[in-house]
Amino acid sequence: MITLLEARNIGKRFGGLQALSDVSLTIRKGEVYGLIGPNGAGKTTFFNVLTGAYTPDGGEFVFNGAPLPSGKPHLVVAQGIARTFQNIRLFRELSALENVMAGHHIRTTANVWGILTQNKHTVEEERLTTERAYELLKYVGIERFATATAKNLSYGDQRRLEIARALATEPQLLALDEPAAGMNATETVQLKNLIEQIRGDGITVLLIEHDVKLVMGLCDRVAVLDFGRKIAEDVPAEVQKNDAVIGAYLGGGQKNAH
């Protein structure tokens, strides 16, 4: 298996809180990699460091064999990493279609002069962007809301739209931050199918999720964070049996319901 992303000893501190300490993990091309852990374990911080929203205090990421620029989100996206947010962050006033089109920004090149003159390249690129965005809406199953304003979509559809927008950046690695949060059972099943479809299309997925059932059913491998440290990394079946994980999750550690 080819390694796509390697995190090497990532550390991040906020004031007195060590949010991440010495986290290393390896994500292989084509897999769905789960990152779980209780609230406040550092999962989202890991995301933010990976995608350039924060600069890590220590360690580095190697993506496709080259180090990732830190603190420059747009360069990270250019390298092929896209993300979604735990608390959905759409462009609220844009339509669903336009949200996805905005996601395609980094793969397009029209400049102000071209836009002003509407030259052939610009027009063609715009047409392709529109069509491609529509295809992506279709891909996540919300093409019927293409012209609806993002803020008016239902919660589940907003989640899908965010994924479509991330896919529009043409990523090799798609990082999803709790995509199932707030979804009901049916929506969660649909989401699972969608993620599988994405993997099927050759995109590696990094998944933070609370819904352990979803993670266990979907992921090829899972890492567990607790207090900013990686306490386990393995295939789901093994992780589920891991005492440290059970302790971290069900709480107390001393009480074991087995």
Binding site: N39, K213, M216
Partner: protein
């Protein structure tokens, strides 16, 4: 006011809450009797926090009713519900980070004017939470998570609540600290304060609770005594994804 001891202290009937176009709570019924410690457990996003916020008055309900001491309280603003004895320790603790620890605690007594009694209550909180006492003059934002949680609980107690709503007091805390906090919660319960506890740490919550409700996707799907639920395979399934 003399109320019938058998009637519930708090009663939610068909309560619905929606915000930002999402219906987060889809019509739930829940009862709480005086002196009980009841927990509300469920996965992230199930609607637990929303429920607590609706009871405390931070969120408007879309439909249904909230009765408290036999009175419809869902029409009242949050600050009036506090005056009637409903206190919420919000998720993420809601500490005033720019105020000192003591100021935070005194904010809890904002609605009270009985100075002497407030001082007494402060002393009681200090004995209950000795670590807080050491840091009275410190800016609350510089406290550790556990200490902040202690302050948040202490602050809520200073309003002399009849009903205390606790939203994930263990979130992001080390096991030892969580243990401490639950000791505090228990001692509060022993003093006769009715507690509704929202918790992810299901084992812990169920161990301490007399009863519990399990929420899933905005609905209550299970209810029973703490011990019953602790051994219920469905609960484990909800958390660890084991086949039910």
């Amino acid at each position: 006011m003399h109320t019938n001891p058998i009637s519930p202290l708090l009663q939610l009937s068909a309560m619905k809450v929606a915000y930002g176009g999402i219906q987060a709570v889809k019509g739930i019924d829940l009862e709480l009797y005086r002196g009980e410690l009841v927990s509300l457990i469920g996965a992230n996003g199930a609607g637990k926090t929303t429920t607590l916020n609706a009871i405390a008055g931070s969120l408007k309900i879309a439909d249904g009713e909230i009765h408290y001491e036999g009175e419809k309280v869902h029409v009242l603003p949050a600050h009036k519900r506090l005056r009637r004895g409903i206190a919420l320790v919000p998720e993420g603790r809601g500490i005033f980070t720019r105020l000192t620890v003591e100021e935070n605690l005194r904010m809890g007594a904002y609605t009270r004017n009985d100075k002497a009694a407030i001082e007494q209550d402060l002393e009681r909180v200090y004995t209950m939470l000795p670590r807080v006492k050491e840091r009275l003059a410190q800016i609350a934002g510089t406290l550790s998570g556990g200490e902040q949680q202690m302050v948040a609980i202490g602050r809520a107690l200073l309003s002399r609540p009849k009903l205390l709503l606790l939203d994930e007091p263990s979130m992001g805390l080390a096991p030892l600290v969580v243990e401490k906090i639950f000791e505090v919660v228990q001692s509060v319960a022993k003093e006769g304060v009715t507690i509704l506890l929202v918790e992810q740490n299901a084992n812990l919550a169920l161990e301490f609770s007399q009863r519990a409700y399990v929420m899933e996707s905005g609905k209550i799907t299970l209810t029973g005594s703490g011990a019953e639920l602790l051994t219920n395979p469905k609960v484990r399934a909800a958390y660890l994804g084991e086949a039910a």
